[in-house]
């Protein structure tokens, strides 16, 4: 059974039908990249997966925790689904280490010493063990984003969602973040990401999902999809990338 499973997922913003019956299966350890034009519903889909957006119909199931048309244990779901945002969203009043420690302490009741240990370990995973005491405004964008990844990892999520996590970065800082994601992928972390880094997506993804007007328009293995687009919309999309 897939680790993440959505069925007939529908989402409306007022009368705007943004997700039109999404079916998405993600196996444990799989790296899935969602691509598509701006406004096609990629962010909305990711955000429904950890309950940041409510759903109007359908089901979401992550590792046995189910959400049916918005009803379900959100807190349990969110503990299984980590999220990294485009804008990092670190807590500015806390050091890098404290940013990572906070959720285990508050949500899981982990004691301070243990949480600090977890934080050191997670910061080491993103190559920032030296920056435990640095504050967000003392870090570069790339470093902040890596702390944000460590913060999400500290909750030992089953799956990590990444919504355009390099889009707000200066070009020279993109690679350090992608390197971290690549390493997570190779360590077997289940990843669902939205990115415009097409070369990277083709390299690390097990599965590519092309969204178009609120639907999964086409999906499959990245190399095959790029070699042979099945729909004119995806062919157009590829052409627009150049």
């Amino acid at each position: 059974m897939p680790l993440v499973q959505t069925n007939r997922l529908h989402k409306f913003y007022g009368t705007n039908h943004v997700l039109k019956g999404i079916k998405l299966d993600v196996e444990e350890g799989e790296v899935v990249t969602i691509i598509g034009r701006s406004g096609s519903g990629k962010s909305t889909l990711l955000r429904t997966l950890n309950g940041l957006e409510s759903i109007d119909d359908g089901t979401i199931e992550v590792d046995g925790t189910a959400l049916v048309a918005g009803e379900g244990d959100l807190r349990a779901l969110r503990q299984k689904v980590g999220m990294v945002f485009q804008q990092f969203n670190l807590f500015p009043h806390l050091s890098a280490g404290q940013n990572v420690m906070l959720a285990p302490q508050v949500v899981k009741g982990t004691n301070k010493r243990e949480a600090a240990e977890i934080a050191r370990e997670m910061l080491a995973r993103v190559g920032l063990d030296q920056k435990f005491d640095a504050f967000p405004d003392q870090l570069s964008g790339g470093q902040q984003q890596r702390v944000a990844i460590a913060r999400a990892l500290a909750m030992s999520p089953k799956v990590l969602l990444c919504d355009e996590i390099t889009s707000a970065l200066d070009p020279e800082l993109v690679n350090e973040v992608l390197t971290v994601v690549r390493r997570l992928a190779s360590e077997g972390m289940t990843l669902i990401m939205v990115t415009h880094e097409m070369r990277f997506a083709r390299e690390v993804s097990d599965k590519l999902v092309f969204m178009h007007e609120g639907r999964v328009h086409e999906s499959g293995h990245p190399q095959e999809m790029f070699a042979q687009p099945a729909t004119p919309e995806f062919a157009n999309f590829i052409r627009s990338l150049h």
Binding site: F85, L90, H93, V107, F135
Partner: protein
Amino acid sequence: MAYQFDFTFIPDYAGMLGQGVAYTLGLTVFGGVLGIAIGIGGAISRLWKIRPFDGLYQCYVELFRNTPFLVQLFLIFFGLPSLGIKLVEWQAAMLAMVLNLGAYSTEIIRAGLQATPKGQLEAAESLAFTRRETFFYVMLRPALLKVWPALSSQLVISMLGSSVCSQISAEELTFVANFIQSRNFRAFETYFLTTAIYFGLAVMIRQLLGAIGRYAIARRAAS
């Protein structure tokens, strides 16, 4: 004939002046601490629309921000006894200060909480924080730091405004000044001295609160 300044009365009344200063500071500190506590409560209920507190708070805030402090004080001291609530001078003065500061703090703190970037709230939500946890661990400290200068100014304004409490014979600094002046008839010297003391207190409170704010911001580096 030139006016002869005479400040020789000061030593005789030094103890009294000291008590007046202590009274004024007491009103300010008590009003500040409880007022900010009320303000936090008010800001929470207004922000999250917790019924019926949000409505009650809104009425209260509007009432106290749109009426003179002196009238609020009279209402509490002279009006409440009609409802069977009798307060002595210092109790009425304290209550008026707390309620007045509470109303202003509610609006100031609410603005600070409202200015929390949406991304911070989403980050907390995505980490499975409850609304309460988000409030205490993510919103409150940055919001208070942000509005600290505004709160400090308000506290100074309220400290100066507390002179009005002399009108119900609460024995704060202005009351003491009036008393001394009625004894020595040295109006200029007495009120000049009082002005200087208020000025000194205001500067002191501003500096102290500024230092507390800087300490709170700097402390993050140490923790």
